[in-house]
Symmetry: C2
């Protein structure tokens, strides 16, 4: 797109990016839809950059001056454009396929890439009316970001539509899986950063596909964003090569779909085709399982999105590569308040997104952007599954006193202290078979909680052996979830 070329006419100069490559071919969008999709993403990127830098002049209606810039620049640009890119394409898919979907941003400090689309779709203003969809609201929205008394640079709990903060890296897939449990229509989009992908909790959580039942649970759609860099280092998964990467995810039991490149138009078409394909694959898996009742582990789709770190940033600043480099991780230029040339570069960078085409005279998103977003509860920022408490149901709980041991006098009776807890859990499970599960690292029986198996077995959809019938307590619809990863168990509790 012409607006992307202001500092890098040739994206092939990003040496990590050759020609675009995608597993799924096709150009599903016509020119109009492509332009609309790109406009939404441009608006997201403009907002992300504005959040990081601006405390005033939010629509650049006057020339950018030092006093418009925040005194203390905080926030992370690097992961933001790709997060917004995924959000953008999920918006398109939600409308096209009428999806019930939510969005989890794994990369740390990626909030600018998520807050932007949530603001554009109107979810933000509904909860925070002072961050209205006009120039004043936009200024307040920019200024509060990473600002004293404002909001954090993670997707903190006050972010509409966020159930995953991303501060402690490694839990995005576990949280996503927890959110999908017992929500059969839900698609949980989970963007995994290639930095966090190196953590232990994340590395084992690819195995969540062994714990999702295609009949009763929703789906998790992981999007691994290989932007190539952590803070100052390349990432392992971005450099191990296509073949190993592909085998790794097939070995984890997924069907990886690659989308790789840096040219926005090409990538928009590739991502749209890929998300369509993934959604249709997910729906086909669910339809088949739900029609037949046969539960086997599907090879769910996942997307590997390889895009430049800090995508659409200036190609170079002070002779150093920025877009596609670890230098794009945080604030790419810290000295804009005191360095006039850098202030000017920031202004042209902001203008490269053509804000005048994205916001109307009052500062509200133009019709093309408003029409691009899903509406009502289909907006990912407003989806009740991701807004704490809206779908919460009280458990039917028996009186715990009924499970106490009678102790007529000290030292007379003998009992194991956890066994009565197992009986209580059994009865809670029995009374709440649709919104209660027990998670454990294969210790329920050794911890004497096994009364629970009278009501529900351990979930298992891997292959079975004849001897499993003898006390294995395994079932494809079991509600006791056992895996020897306490990190994953912890993450699964993100249930709404």
């Amino acid at each position: 797109m012409s607006d992307q070329t202001f500092t890098h006419p040739d994206h092939a100069s990003i040496s990590s990016f050759g020609p675009a490559r995608a597993t799924v071919s096709g150009t599903p969008m016509n020119a109009e839809e492509l332009a609309q999709t790109h406009a939404f993403w441009r608006a997201c990127n403009y907002l992300a950059l504005g959040m990081i830098y601006l405390q005033d002049n939010p629509l650049l209606r006057e020339p950018l001056k030092p006093e418009h810039i925040k005194n203390r620049l905080l926030g992370h640009w690097g992961a933001s454009p790709a997060l917004a890119f995924v959000y953008t394409h999920m918006n398109r898919a939600i409308r096209k396929h009428d999806l019930d979907a939510i969005f989890l941003a794994g990369p740390g400090h990626g909030a600018p890439g998520v807050l932007g689309p949530i603001y554009l779709e109107g979810s933000y203003s509904e909860i925070y009316p002072d961050k209205s969809l006009d120039e004043d609201g936009l200024q307040a929205f920019f200024k509060q970001f990473s600002f004293p008394g404002g909001i954090g640079s993670h997707c903190t709990p006050e972010t509409p539509g966020s159930i995953h903060e991303g501060g402690e890296l490694g839990y995005v897939l576990s949280h996503a899986c927890g959110a999908a449990f017992d929500n059969p229509e839900l698609i949980v989009t989970a963007v995994v950063g290639d930095g966090e992908a190196e953590t232990g909790p994340l590395a084992t959580s690819w195995h969540i596909n062994k714990f999702l039942n295609p009949v009763r649970d929703g789906a998790v759609l992981p999007v691994l964003n290989l932007n190539g860099y952590k803070i100052n280092n390349p990432t392992l998964l971005a450099r191990i090569g296509h073949e190993e990467l592909s085998k790794l995810f097939e070995g984890y039991g997924w069907t990886p779909l690659f989308v790789e490149g840096s040219d926005p138009d090409t990538l928009h078409q590739a991502m749209a085709a890929t998300v369509d394909h993934a959604v249709e694959h997910i729906r086909a898996i669910q339809r088949a399982a739900r029609a037949t009742g046969v539960v086997e582990r599907p090879r769910w789709p996942m997307i590997v999105l390889r895009t430049p770190k800090g995508w659409t940033a200036p190609a170079e600043i002070n002779g150093h590569q920025v877009e596609g480099s670890w230098r794009a991780h945080q604030v790419p230029m810290a000295d804009v308040k005191t360095h006039p040339a850098h202030l000017q570069l920031l202004e042209s960078w902001l203008k490269s997104y053509q804000p005048e085409t994205l916001f109307d005279a009052a500062g509200a998103p133009v019709a093309a952007i408003r029409q691009f977003t899903p509406t009502g509860l289909r907006r990912m920022g407003s989806n009740p599954h991701a807004n704490g408490g809206r779908l919460k149901k009280a458990l039917r709980l028996p009186d715990f006193r009924d499970y106490g041991m009678e102790v007529p006098e000290p030292g007379r009776i003998e009992a194991e202290n956890t066994r009565p807890l197992g009986v209580l859990l059994r009865d809670v499970m029995k009374a709440n078979l649709r919104n209660f599960r027990v998670f454990g690292p294969d210790e329920n029986t050794s911890n004497k909680l096994n009364a629970i198996y009278e009501v529900s077995k351990k979930f298992w959809i891997e292959s079975s052996l004849p001897e499993d019938a003898d006390g294995g307590e395994l079932a494809v619809d079991g509600r006791v979830m056992e895996m020897l990863s306490e990190h994953t168990l912890e993450g699964w509790r993100a249930i709404f």
Copy 2:
């Protein structure tokens, strides 16, 4: 072997085990070596079982009676035979290839399978003379196990040759990698349990192969023991099928070598051929890198050993499968003191290892077993790399006071608090370039410790890009180790 058939004439009845299968073919051992190898393993298994059950009558020289049995039975049989199997085959390989090797047992509570061979090779008695190589010593050795005032059922620090306790699951590969750093001749055998393989720390630690330099570091030989079960559950990796499993490890960058089956003779030959092959592969990688100085990431070999849980236990007890089942995890029969038929079954189980052929009149291992073990410091229980402190070298440290900031009066000077630490670390690195490394989760620069890069860069042997030359600070011989897994960094510190 005839001695294995006392309760299970047909191993094919373990339905998870069809015919034996191995990636590497060959039967490298003649009948005599096979018999000797099997005798050593039988002795290990006898000792493991004795540790769990016996407080007296350690050589079964009189009929087994209830009073010979410990009052409180603790310990884990399940992982022990396979651990001893690997130890046995490493013993053979150490002698055959003159290896400098150590042994790390990942599976929790696997100590019986490790203590046995360490006792047989004499390492144990040298440190604990009361656990001598005779009947009295054997009795003391049995009795102390999981006994008040005795030793734990993990490979606790007092175990000769152990640098990995295995209590908190998930660190065996990280510890193994740490032990291999800067010990170019060392081969670190690391047995990974399929339970612990589900943990996050373990799942990401397969990536250690991206941090070992074939010129200056030793090698880690992982042996994933798929015995199929955790405490009460199947394990994920044992059930995902051969193709996914193979892709998973190729995706992690290893060359997986499968050894699968349950017939001891067949498995001894397969394992001997496989370990020979792996050792030769490791040596070939190292020779090539050391001859040319060209450092690229090798696709190191790793072994997938699929054997029945509780291998060589009775096939069935009380109508329930034991060998090859989760029921073999801990103490397969807890009631031998009070249940005469079970006491008898235990006796025949113990006798199935033919202790009378393994120990002489005094209770010492017979010549065939003594000759089977490596000698001196080549014994894995006596290897100085795995006996804390023997190879420890003091760091050459400058006076830390020289790095303090002068503060002539309060509130006058301004300085960053971690930058001087970076300068100190730089100088420590400079003075200790062979036995000092810095580990960090890609935070050294953001934490202002980057002075260290003046002396040594970040280790990196993945593919490189032209832009890495611009401030990437990467080098194939870098001594700053950065990975975004704090679990792995923690584990790497196991350096001797």
